[in-house]
């Protein structure tokens, strides 16, 4: 017998009590995807011993060796996690990621997590996952953890060759369509397709999106237009990842009942109600319902 079920109500409020922990892990191996240039890496770390974190959550990562050029750790989606490894998929963007790309097997890294809220999982509702480029990372874990991955349709827009992305982990598990964007024309075609799909799923499906800011803004607009339930996974810049620095604020609307439990009090924004306030992406997100966040 199969049961229909949704993951805990936390996804509805967007808040979770902090259950993170700091662990020192070892690099198992690191592999560059694609050949020469794009700088996309799959970093496999020794397993952190977390209870399987719900999909959509993230971690903070820093190399343990001293004398690093950067001060703060960096946030990454949990791309995969199992008994053998914790996998992070990243692109070299600046100081810290350049440093991570030079990690060698056996190097120690410090990781804290799992952090943030998770994406909704409901085995009975069809899911439309919209990924743009690096935004594919959380969906690998989402597909891995979903009890009925056959209900997931993934539309993946990418600019780099397909072999640069960690798609092989989920191939054959869900429906995947890829869209190579080589120019503005391709992008317009992809945008039109995104609209068509959102309209299709608006009635009974769940829509999830992760990718560049412009892509999330587009999904948000369309989700509002078609009154679809859509969740956006944000990649706001962060310093601490645990709600303390207030550097990752985003304007969001969180209902008053979201702050009822004591464990959630720490995330309470300046005031509650029916108006958007600055809340921490790391505590109240990174996944926000499209109708409750301003981008």
């Amino acid at each position: 017998m199969t049961m229909c079920g949704a993951s805990p109500a936390q996804t509805d409020t967007g808040l979770v009590p902090s259950d993170g922990a700091l662990v020192r892990l070892k690099v198992l191996d690191i592999a560059e995807l694609g050949r020469g240039g794009p700088d996309l890496f799959v970093l496999r770390l020794s397993p952190p011993g977390w209870e399987t974190p719900l999909p959509g959550r993230f971690l903070m990562l820093r190399a343990a060796a001293t004398g690093r050029e950067y001060l703060c750790a960096r946030p990454f989606s949990i791309c995969r996690i199992n008994d053998e490894a914790l996998v992070v998929f990243f692109q070299v963007r600046g100081k810290a990621t350049r440093d991570f790309a030079a990690l060698k097997p056996g190097d120690p890294v410090d990781v804290w997590g799992p952090l943030g809220n998770s994406l909704p999982v409901d085995s009975c509702r069809p899911v439309l996952a919209l990924a743009g480029g690096m935004g594919i990372a959380p969906f690998v874990n989402y597909v891995d953890q979903h009890p009925a991955p056959g209900n997931i349709s993934l539309e993946f827009g990418h600019r780099l060759p397909l072999e640069c992305y960690p798609l092989r982990y989920i191939e054959g598990k869900c429906r995947i369509r890829t869209h190579h964007e080589k120019n503005d024309g391709d992008r317009a075609v992809f945008s039109a397709l995104v609209e068509e799909r959102i309209r299709e799923f608006a009635l009974s499906g769940i829509i999830l999106a992760c990718g560049p800011g412009a892509f999330l803004r587009l999904v948000r607009e369309l989700a509002l237009k078609y009154r679809a339930e859509a969740w956006l996974s944000l990649e706001t810049r962060m310093a601490c990842g645990i709600g303390a620095c207030l550097g990752c604020a985003v304007k969001a609307l969180l209902p008053a009942e979201a702050f009822a439990a004591p464990a959630q009090v720490l995330a309470a924004p300046p005031s509650r109600g029916d108006r958007e306030h600055f809340v921490q992406t790391c505590l109240c997100g990174p996944n926000f319902r499209a109708d409750r966040v301003l981008l």
């Binding site: 820093r62 207030l246 300046p270």
Partner: protein, 319 residues
């Protein structure tokens, strides 16, 4: 407050002000705005092991803070323009304070206001409040009624705020937190102590700025912000040294502290205690590790009594 065992007794410090004192199990506190309301860090260490915590700056009314982006990394430092986003004093007292282990953990509130009378009203809210160990007044904020100059940049305004807070909350030790953005920190330190400060803390962030050549825009939405982290440690150390020589009350050192060695350096330069700030962003267990490491590091450097070690900096002998 119970000392709790021999090890803690050795680390204990008493910050004796003119009117009130603050006894701590160890000299390591957290810096305001870098440790949330404390609870955020409870998964990463035992809050009760800390010397105390200073919570995020509180104002009378909730504040939304500044637009994004609010943080930027700079070489060995962090620039921020959070803009004192906070839940307001009332919500703090009602919702957050009850969740903290105040019986064993000194909780210090950090106050922010835009005018002297506002500071006074705010201070009044904490008078008699069980569970608040001390007040820390952030005078690195603009006096809106007097042209926006920081309270802490003018000895008269700094003294006025100190006296006003003192009058409305006479039952708690009063810490005044100095800004390094001044010509002579000793002048401000003296003015605050004369007006009734029991303890001084220094320093708050240094005014700074960073730009992006690619986008030709500032890295912070507010253009300028406050610099913190290892980059400012020498400035903080110098400020503590100057302030502690200028006044007879204890000085708490803040700025770039990231290890137990740093703690001892500040105490050597004259600090009675320290606060750990930006290091808690680098790793959430930073302050807990510093407390844990301190006894061994004290032993390594032959320090067995922090009170005696305080300010014992030697001078170069010149012929």
């Amino acid at each position: 407050m119970s000392a709790g065992g021999r090890e803690n007794a050795k680390l204990g410090v008493c910050l004796k002000g003119a009117r009130a004192s603050l006894a701590l199990n160890n000299p390591v506190l957290t810096a305001s705005g870098t440790f949330g309301y404390g609870l955020e860090f409870s998964p990463y260490g035992d809050l009760r092991k800390l010397g105390g915590i200073v919570v995020k700056g509180l104002s009378l009314e909730p504040r939304e803070g500044n637009p994004m982006p609010r943080i930027a990394e700079t070489p060995c430092g962090l620039l921020n323009s959070v803009g004192l986003q906070n839940c307001g004093a009332e919500i703090f007292l009602r919702d957050k304070l009850p969740l903290l282990p105040v019986e064993v953990l000194p909780v210090i509130v950090n106050l922010y206001a835009a005018a002297t009378d506002e500071f006074a009203v705010l201070a009044g809210l904490f008078s008699g409040e069980h569970g608040i160990a001390a007040l820390e007044v952030n005078i690195s904020c603009p006096n809106v009624r007097e042209g926006g100059l920081l309270f802490g940049q003018d000895p008269r305004m700094a003294a006025e705020v100190t006296a006003a807070v003192r009058a409305r909350c006479p039952d708690k030790p009063l810490i005044v937190k100095l800004t390094p953005n001044v010509t002579d920190i000793a002048v401000i330190a003296k003015a605050c102590v004369e007006a009734g400060a029991d303890i001084l803390s220094c320093i708050n962030t240094l005014s700074g700025m960073a730009v992006d050549l690619n986008t030709r825009s500032p890295l912070l939405a507010t253009v300028t912000g406050g610099l913190s982290g290892p980059a400012i440690k020498p400035v903080a150390l110098r400020s503590v040294w100057q302030a502690s020589r200028a006044v007879s009350v204890p000085v708490i050192g803040v700025g770039g502290i990231g290890s137990a060695e740093d703690v001892l350096e500040f105490i050597l330069a004259g600090a009675g205690a320290v606060q750990v700030g930006t290091a808690s962003f680098s790793r959430p267990d930073a302050v807990f590790r510093i407390v844990e490491d301190l006894p061994a590091v004290m032993e390594k450097y032959g320090v067995d009594d922090l009170e005696a070690f305080r300010g014992s900096l030697l001078t170069w002998q010149t012929d």
